[in-house]
């Protein structure tokens, strides 16, 4: 009898419309969006799989994505259906069986990787294309409902990030900041595709912040919006991380702090107007995009409840901000190899070490241009109070030259860095205390030069990690001890997710060219 009830209940929920109510729920049975939930903590309340039984986790199904390579896409799960994308393509799968329900292939397809995921709202799924269209498809059949262009391919823009949807607004960003293309973040109407507002990450003359760019350097300045941000429903603010300035390695032609590159900006959802910003690396010359996903945490700080924003930055420092005001609360160095700054001021500004910037002959700078962490997703576990992220310990020899900006999407980096010959490069999953930045534990990854995939934490006391070398591992969130691992046999570049259907918890991730979903071994 119980079985019947479950089946009927399951079937009847399949066409439930996805709205504000669902997207605001804590992360549990579904995985509705790229970062799991609006707070981007990638922490699920599911705990059927836990530290005591994770050793029994086995593959439940595998779906091969034809022609995929090194997928960076995070699947979403809604109403029993999993949606996974790669550039120009979406596959809808039965999330219990991995069987395909529909697929969509865009024609014509401009081949520019990657695509990092889709979003869902109402009865539609949405994704962006390499030629800057937002495509809305019927979630049940994959029929295209409309396409809406939001940036210019001819100028060089493309759009790799998964959209974020809030209250019927689809928030989409652009790349590439390394080509002198100024960042734009746009909100499109989820029903019609109409552009409602656009935030320009590089202020124009007459706008506050333009004075932080010397001469005309603001015109080809970067500051792109190539990863998905976060949202606070109470404050109605979007928190979006902004990429590096162009040319990346030669700051001589763009003297000043170069706002709002290397910042997190807080934008009013309804208008796109900026409420505050915080810049992690003023006048960056090491390509340290600050796109690391801002995690929104409500917790006591200095004895009173506070709305916090936690962010471990590519520049090697960990930051805690008050997300109502943007006020800097705490900062600490997490990268051991760090020589470009001696610390942070009480306002959170880096105290730069003189001459630690790219030079004609080459300067050894730590961290290197990959950064002390990068775009791969962090996680926060309220149970332990720890922030987890992937950290790289490495240095580069960085040099600069002069390069002329060419419109149309050509590289505008003015050189780069090579691995420092006298330094090793090592990759870690690292846990730090959310409030103090105090080091708690770390677990080394096999791949020393590639970040690999992101992290997921669960109420089962676990942190899941996707190593570039192919090992998918589960660790004890308290200690970092490895409790389970599975060799996927493929490069891992994407973040894992978890979901539950018919009372069964699954853990899934994009692995190279396949999607793999795991569950506890079931004798049946």
């Amino acid at each position: 009898m119980k079985t019947f009830a479950i089946i009927i209940c399951f079937a009847s929920t399949l066409l439930a419309q996805i709205g504000d109510k669902q997207l605001r729920q804590p992360l549990s049975d579904n995985w509705y969006q790229y970062n799991g939930s609006y707070d981007s903590r990638r922490h699920s309340e599911l705990k059927q799989v836990h530290t005591g039984n994770v050793e029994s986790l086995v593959p439940s199904w595998i779906f091969h994505v034809p022609n995929a390579v090194h997928m960076q896409s995070v699947p979403i799960v809604a109403n029993g259906v999993m949606y996974v994308s790669q550039e120009n393509e979406i596959y809808a799968l039965d999330a219990r069986t991995g069987r395909q329900i529909w697929d969509y292939h865009r024609i014509p397809a401009i081949q520019r990787a990657p695509n990092r995921g889709v979003a869902i709202w109402g009865d539609k799924v949405y994704f962006t294309t390499p030629d800057d269209y937002l495509v809305a498809l019927n979630a049940v059949t994959g029929n295209v409902i409309w396409e809406s262009k939001f940036a210019e391919l001819s100028e060089g823009y493309c759009s790799p990030a998964a959209p974020l949807i809030v209250k019927g607004k689809v928030i989409v960003g652009v790349a590439f900041g390394d080509r002198g293309l100024n960042g734009i973040l746009s909100a499109l109407d989820a029903t019609t595709g109409e552009i409602l507002w656009s935030f320009h990450a590089i202020p124009k003359p007459g706008e506050p912040g333009n004075e932080t760019w010397s001469g005309d350097s603001w015109k080809a300045a970067g500051g792109d919006t190539w990863l998905t941000g976060s949202y606070d429903p109470e404050l109605n603010l979007l928190y979006w991380p902004i990429g590096n300035p162009s040319p990346d390695f030669n700051g001589d032609v763009r003297k000043g702090d170069n706002l709002y590159t290397e910042s997190v900006v807080a934008l009013d959802l309804d208008t796109g107007k900026m409420k505050w910003y915080f810049q992690f690396t003023p006048h960056d010359t090491m390509d340290w995009d600050a796109v690391q996903i801002p995690m929104l945490i409500d917790a006591a700080y200095d004895g009173k409840p506070r709305k916090l924003l936690a962010h471990a930055d590519r520049n090697g420092f960990y930051y805690l901000l008050d997300r109502e005001t943007g006020k800097f609360l705490h900062g600490s160095q997490f990268a051991r190899k760090l020589n470009w700054a001696s610390g942070l001021t009480p306002e959170g500004k880096p105290i730069r070490v003189p001459d630690m910037e790219p030079s004609l002959k080459g300067t050894k700078i730590c961290p290197n241009s990959y950064g002390a962490t990068n775009w791969i997703s962090p996680t926060y576990d309220p149970g332990t109070g720890y922030v987890y992220f992937v950290a790289l310990e490495g240095c580069g020899v960085a040099s600069k030259n002069t390069e002329t900006f060419r419109p149309g999407g050509f590289q505008y980096r003015a050189t780069g860095d090579i691995p420092a010959p006298d330094e090793t490069s090592r990759m870690f999953v690292r846990a730090i205390d959310m409030r103090t930045g105090e080091f708690k534990w770390e677990q080394e990854r096999a791949a020393a030069h590639n970040f690999g995939g992101g992290l997921l934490s669960t109420a089962g006391g676990l942190v899941f990690s996707a190593d570039y070398e192919g090992q998918f591992t589960a660790m004890d969130a308290k200690t970092g001890k490895i409790l389970w691992h599975f060799n996927t046999g493929q490069r891992l570049n994407a973040g894992p997710i978890t979901y539950s259907l018919n009372g069964k918890q699954y853990v899934a991730l994009s692995a190279g060219a396949d999607l793999i979903s795991f569950a506890l071994f079931d004798k049946k």
Binding site: I7, V81, D94, I101, T141, N143, W146
Partner: protein, 275 residues
């Protein structure tokens, strides 16, 4: 300085050459590709070309069948015109000796037997065809075009670019087995609930059913008492009888113009000789 100038001149001349090369316009069929021209071309083709290429372009003992489902070296109107007028050097294909107007008619016919419906100027009242589609024909209750319509049948937003005119006509008039993703099924749950729809996917252990109300049901076979398949597609195949000839033609004209996604002919080798 003098050397710099001559280098500049070389670049200028080179640029001019490249610019004019880019502006070369391949000749288009001056007679168009209307059905009348195609019919005249068909007659001419069967008089002139069949000794080698076979009747109606369907088979050839001595030369390729020009209307078969194969990949062709010559796709554009200009390339086909050139082959008929001048022959293909190094092959048995001779220069035809036909007048240019006759050649263009044959070009229209060859393009027609290879082309999708949207490549042809199918006659008919498109506005009335839309009314038939939405009303008397009953198409919109199952099919979607540009976001409007039902979900149970295939999306028709690009049907004119995907099917030939003959295939569109056949899909409205001739019975055929259902295509994958649209196989009609009737499943019975363990509790006895009956769900009727189409199978989006099925294997030995699971089935995804889109019911007639557009609701998706995902089952493992353990959750079902019975799965019954229907041999025929849900698509009515008698529209040539339920509609008047004029209404039927208007519907065909409307459907042939649905080409939201046009496959780029250049990507298929348009204007290329040999690949």
């Amino acid at each position: 300085m003098g050397r710099d100038r001559s280098i500049l001149l070389v670049f200028w001349v080179l640029g001019l050459c490249l610019a004019s090369a880019a502006q070369v316009v391949k000749p288009k069929n001056p007679l168009g590709n209307g059905l009348e021209v195609v019919a005249e071309g068909h007659t001419l083709y069967n008089k002139t070309c069949t000794a080698c290429h076979g009747r109606d372009g369907t088979q050839g003992d001595r030369a390729p069948a020009l209307g078969a489902a194969r990949r062709y070296f010559r796709l554009s109107e200009a390339a086909i015109f050139d082959a008929i007028k001048n022959g293909i050097p190094g092959t048995a294909m001779p220069a035809s000796g036909l007048q240019d107007t006759e050649i263009w008619r044959i070009v229209a016919y060859i393009r027609n037997i290879r082309s999708t419906a949207s490549d042809n100027d199918v006659p008919g009242d498109i506005q009335n065809g839309t009314r038939i589609y939405q009303g008397k024909g009953g198409c919109a209750s199952c099919h979607m075009i540009r976001g409007q319509g039902g979900l149970i049948g295939p999306d028709l937003s690009s049907v004119g670019a995907q099917l030939t005119l003959d295939q569109i006509k056949a899909s409205l008039t001739q019975s055929a087995p259902p295509q994958a993703g649209f196989v009609p099924v009737r499943v019975t749950t363990l509790k006895g609930e009956v769900i009727k729809g189409v199978a989006k996917n099925e294997d030995a252990f699971s089935i995804a059913v889109l019911d007639m109300q557009g609701k998706l049901h995902l089952f493992t076979k353990e959750e079902l008492r019975n799965v019954a398949h229907e041999p025929e597609s849900l698509m009515p195949r008698n529209l040539d009888k339920t509609l008047t000839p004029a209404e039927f033609q208007d519907l065909i004209a409307m459907l042939s113009r649905q080409a939201r996604t046009k496959v780029r002919r250049e990507q298929q080798g348009e204007n290329e000789v040999g690949r």
